[in-house]
Amino acid sequence: MRKLPYLLLLICYFSSCSKEYTPSPQQEKDVPVILGEITPNKPIDIILTNAKNITSPNYVSSEKFSNVVLLDSNENNLDTLTFQENNYWKSNYKVQPNENYTLQFQYKNNKINAKTKIPSSFYAEILEQETLSNDTLLLKLTIEDVSDDSFYVVECWQYANNNYSKLSFLNNDKFTDNNKYHELYSPYKRLFFKTSIPRQITLKIITDPYSISSEDKFIEIRVKNVNYNYYEYLYNYEHQLQDEEFYLPNNNKYLGVLGGSYNIILKTNYLHDTTPQITDIIPIKRMPTTL
């Protein structure tokens, strides 16, 4: 262990030249933020707010949003969004798959356009379900009727005790971006993949053992076909959740994302009462629920 004093000395020596400081106020203080997901068969609920510039911590932006409208690809006005509490803007207009939309609003005397596309519909179902232990569930899904160049995001949610919570899961499917790029650490909270052919996915879901006592409980697998920008945003967002030194890129005139999505929600019951040592394989075929 003679090496330790030298290594310690070396570390001290090198760490002595580390310098920390807080940068002076940087860049614009008033920057608009759009956050929301537009999906067919669901009212539009979008957050429009001001970003907080962390290099100017005492500055609170008072810039307002106005004339918030939804336009189609020909720039025809489809609906005017109304302001709700907590910075939400709402419209009951029903968007359609495979259509382009623009959310237009007035900010600091500028008209800002946020564009999105609602991806095409698809089909998904749970093929097999296996309980591995009290808190581990193995699910095999299939995703079919995919269109060319589709981007999918899969999330697992647990409903128990009148609450939804997001579940972690393991996945080894090579075609997923999680396993291709190795940027996200397993267990995952979101699964990302691009595909133009039908795919099967195997998820090893880690459930919440404290929800066992809940009577009204189930698991939701939310499969989303999203547009490219939204896919990238969610991927980077997931990356940021795992790596505190990773930040979201700034590529637009506004921050955030106006996501376009086509969602399928697959529900399955808990099988926690199965003896953990015995492996059950229960084939399930059910119609997907779309929202």
């Binding site: 262990m1 003679r2 090496k3 030298y6 020596y13 090198f14 760490s15 002595s16 030249c17 580390s18 310098k19 920390e20 400081y21 807080t22 940068p23 940087q26 860049q27 920057v31 933020v33 956050l35 929301g36 997901e37 609920d45 957050i47 707010t49 970003a51 907080k52 510039n53 962390i54 290099t55 911590p57 907590n86 939400y88 939804y164 997001k166 396993n179 291709k180 790029y181 190795h182 940027e183 990238e232 945003y233 969610l234 980077n236 967002y237 990356h239 940021q240 505190e244 030194e245 990773f246 930040y247 979201l248 890129p249 700034n250 590529n251 637009n252 921050l255 955030g256 994302v257 996501g259």
Partner: protein
């Protein structure tokens, strides 16, 4: 009175002779329209009772002559021969002496160091009044001149110039030895020269000179010496890397005796692999690339190893804070064959016992250089060179904690220089270069623990020949060769499967024409051609090189140049540190070879009785097909995609720059100042909406000042002061709500942080001041001893090698980690 008679007698005799001469020349001679041989012409004159004299070998008696007239005076006939057949004549009474007019002869040979017999590359051979050339890489020179009496002046920086007068009336072999001078030299040499094949294309560093400047750890380093040159300062202070003119550190071709060295740094870049004990000189090109060089985008560093003393044996060595080195050189057969062998090793592990630890943590580096040469004839010389360098870092004795990183470079080269004639020189080279990088680590899976060994290898086999042909005011170089590269990539998923092998063939040819158009205009026009074959890819690549140079006067040159360079090996690693574990991959259809196009305008002038040199360069560089890691891919945290094609983005870069250097010889004080201005923008898909954005690691302004003062031949002090404006980075500026909360209508404290504009934040400016003291004894029978003592970064703020932007408690903090300071050094060098 007698003198007066004599005088008149002489005058009258001359006038009479002249009159006779005149009469004789006016004689008519009959000719027909047929072709005559010169011999027949001379016979016709002899028929007129005229005696002819000539050297039949030189004049060429069979040469055909056709006269445009049937009758002519002898005077007109002689005039015709002179004007149309370059045959001059001298008339004496009734005798005519014919000679070939302006007969040219070639003087050629080697320029060598007196005593050791080391050849001197780039020595200036100036022949009064208007002819000149430089010795080539192997010390050979050749110059063709009209018959006559000349004074030849041979000069080489660091050596006493030699003048020699000679009569050139036949082809002459003249080998010249120059004695080393004790005079102080500039660190980096750039010379404007008039009337000679130009040498302003590159900077030469003569490693024979004792390095007086402050050096980190006291270890003299070939690559670090280049960092004083403007345009090379994009690397990190303290590291042996150079980022040349906005390019990255992987874009530098580093050659050791003409053989590429793939990883030219020891870990982690604080020392280059070149042991200066064994080195002779460095030629560094950052533009105006001659056509013979190819393979990298930004620079060429051509390092020459010493050949070994032909006369006497020497031993020498050096010890400093990082390494211990030793060399031995001497004749194998006096004046025929010699050798040099050198070795260097880090000593910290041996002294501290870290390397002997049972747990096995080990860090060491070592280099071995061997070179032997043999001249069987005066026209042939054969060289055999060998280099091996190893780095090892980590612990591998405990099976549970194996974590090692090791790499090695190995080179073996056989070279044959042959002089076919006094105008034709050839060089044939066969080499094998091998780079290996091995990482070992323990990987834990769900149920298993296994040692994973990843071995990356790159092998290069090359056979090539080039010729240099010398003519009056013209030099032609041409060559061709074939090269095979074998890349072997590790497959991380399956440790036992290492068959991911890729083979690339290249057929390379070049032609280079160095022409002195007149006494003021010199040009070097060349073309490099490569046929590249990798898998299905079979493509031809042409790389034009043009350099036009105008000598304003004896002291000033201005030049314009264009160079196109291709890089066929993509390297993936850190942008500004040349990491050994960076991947090197062959260019393919998907990832075409990198291209660089450089336009440059350069002015060099000597001032103050040629004591000072100023150089100003303006350039514009375009690069295409350059690779970078995708955002999110992280080599340091091993967050890398399985398929390397998923790791990278292909983009382009535009760099503009201004470089000024000024060297002043104020003996005993010498100062050097350099300034670099750079504007570097790049574009990669998916980043910044596909728009160009500022490169983060190229400082806008860099100033470097060095001064060396010698109190006498023994004691010297020196200083280096460097300043650069801060580099750039992207920092998170904005805090926004989480998308999960927004979509699911949840109110929480979860926030997302978003970058501001890309690379918009400028880090602090950097500066450093280093001081050094050198004591050196004269070279006596007790040898030469050099002691160096000094402090690097006595005060200052070095450029960081790691910068992070962290948010703690919703507050942004920037952390810069740089080399510690101050860094004292001490070293001792000896030579017997």
């Amino acid at each position: 009175m007698r003198w007066i008679y004599c005088f008149f007698f002489v005058i009258i005799s001359i006038v009479a002779a002249k009159a006779q001469h005149h009469d004789f020349l006016q004689k008519e001679i009959e000719l027909s329209e047929q072709n005559y041989s010169l011999q027949q012409v001379f016979k016709k004159l002899e028929e007129q009772n005229i005696i002819t004299a000539y050297n039949s070998k030189k004049i060429g008696l069979d040469k055909s002559v056709k006269f445009p007239f049937k009758e002519s005076t002898i005077s007109n006939l002689l005039k015709f021969l002179e004007e149309n057949h370059a045959i001059t004549s001298k008339v004496k009474v009734n005798k005519i002496i014919f000679t070939k007019s302006e007969e040219s002869y070639t003087i050629s040979g080697f320029i060598r160091e007196h005593g050791s017999g080391e050849t001197l590359a780039g020595a200036n051979i100036l022949v009064n009044p208007n002819y000149g050339t430089f010795s080539n890489t192997y010390g050979f020179y050749s110059i063709t001149l009209p018959e006559g009496k000349y004074q030849i002046n041979i000069s080489y920086i660091g050596y006493i110039s030699k003048k020699q007068t000679f009569i050139l009336n036949q082809d002459t072999r003249l080998d010249i030895d120059l004695k080393a001078s004790s005079q102080q030299l500039p660190e980096v040499i750039i010379e404007p020269q008039k009337n000679s094949i130009n040498k302003t294309e590159f900077n030469r560093i003569n490693l024979d000179k004792t390095n007086l400047t402050p050096i980190i750890f006291g270890t003299d380093d070939a690559i670090k010496r280049l960092q004083m040159i403007p345009g090379t300062g994009g690397g990190i202070t303290g590291f042996s890397d150079i980022a040349v003119r906005g390019g990255n550190v992987h874009e530098n071709l580093v050659l050791l005796d003409g053989v590429p060295v793939y990883n030219y740094n020891h870990f982690p870049g604080i020392l280059s692999v070149f042991n200066t004990d064994a080195l002779k000189s460095i030629d560094f090109y950052k533009g105006q690339f001659p056509a013979r060089y190819t393979g990298r985008l930004s620079s060429v560093t051509d390092i020459k190893m010493r050949e070994g003393n032909m006369q006497t044996y020497h031993i020498g060595g050096n010890i400093d804070l990082a390494t211990l080195s030793i060399f031995v050189e001497g004749p194998i057969i006096k004046n025929k064959a010699s050798f040099i062998a050198s070795g260097r090793r880090s000593w910290i592990d041996g002294l501290t016992g870290i390397g002997n630890s049972e747990e096995g943590f080990d860090f060491h580096l070592q280099d071995i250089n061997l070179k032997a040469n043999y001249s069987p004839t005066k026209d042939d010389r054969v060289y055999l060179s060998f280099y091996s360098g190893i780095d090892k870092l980590g612990s591998d004795k405990n099976i549970e904690e194996i974590e090692t990183l090791s790499w090695d470079n190995n080179i073996i080269a056989l070279r044959w220089n042959h002089i076919f004639s006094n105008k034709l020189f050839s060089n044939t080279l066969l080499y094998f270069s091998d780079f290996n990088n091995v990482t070992k680590s323990v990987a834990e899976s769900w149920s298993d623990k296994a040692v994973i060994t990843n071995k990356y290898t790159l092998k290069e086999f090359n056979g090539s020949t080039f010729f240099e042909y010398y003519e009056d005011r013209y030099q032609l170089s041409f060559g061709s060769g074939i090269q095979k590269n074998v890349f072997k990539l590790p497959l991380t998923e399956t440790p036992n499967n290492n068959n991911n092998k890729m083979s690339v063939w290249q057929w390379k040819s070049y032609i280079e024409n160095k022409i002195n158009l007149n006494s003021n205009i010199y040009c070097n026009v060349g073309l490099n051609y490569i046929f590249y074959h990798y898998n299905e890819m079979k493509k031809h690549f042409f790389q034009p090189r043009i350099n036009l140079n105008y000598s304003i006067n004896n002291n000033s040159n201005i030049s314009v140049s264009f160079s196109e360079m291709y890089q066929f090996i993509h390297q993936l690693g850190s942008y500004n540190i040349n990491l050994p574990y960076a991947f090197r991959l062959p260019a393919s259809e998907t990832f075409s070879p990198g291209i660089s196009r450089l336009y440059e305008l350069k002015y060099i002038s000597k001032l103050r009785q040629q004591k000072d040199i100023i150089s100003v360069s303006l350039y514009y560089k375009q690069q295409k097909n350059i690779l970078r890691y995708k955002p999110g891919q992280d080599i340091f945290n091993e967050q890398l995609a399985d398929d390397w094609k998923d790791q990278v983005l292909k983009g382009k870069r535009k760099i503009r720059g201004l470089e000024i250097s000024y060297y002043a010889d104020l003996s005993p004080l010498q100062i050097n100042f350099s300034y670099t201005y750079s504007k570097n923008k790049e574009q990669f898909p998916t980043i910044n909406n596909h728009q160009y954005y500022r490169n983060a690691l190229t400082p806008k302004h860099i100033f470097i000042f060095t001064a060396e003062y010698s109190f006498n031949k023994k004691h010297s002090i020196s200083t280096i002061a460097g300043y650069n404006t801060g580099r750039y980075m992207s920092i998170p500026i904005y805090e926004i709500e989480s998308i999960d909360d927004a979509v699911n209508h949840i109110i929480s404290d979860n926030q997302s942080y978003v970058y501001g504009k890309i690379n918009d934040f400028q880090l602090n400016d950097n500066y450093h001041v280093d001081f050094g003291y050198t004591f050196q004894t004269n070279e006596t029978k007790n040898g030469k001893h050099i002691f160096r003592l000094g402090v690097n970064n006595l005060f200052g703020k070095l450029a960081p090698f790691r910068v992070t932007a962290n948010i703690y408690d919703k507050k942004l903090n920037i952390q810069e980690v740089s080399f510690p300071s101050p860094i004292p050094y001490i070293s001792y060098t000896f030579k017997f």
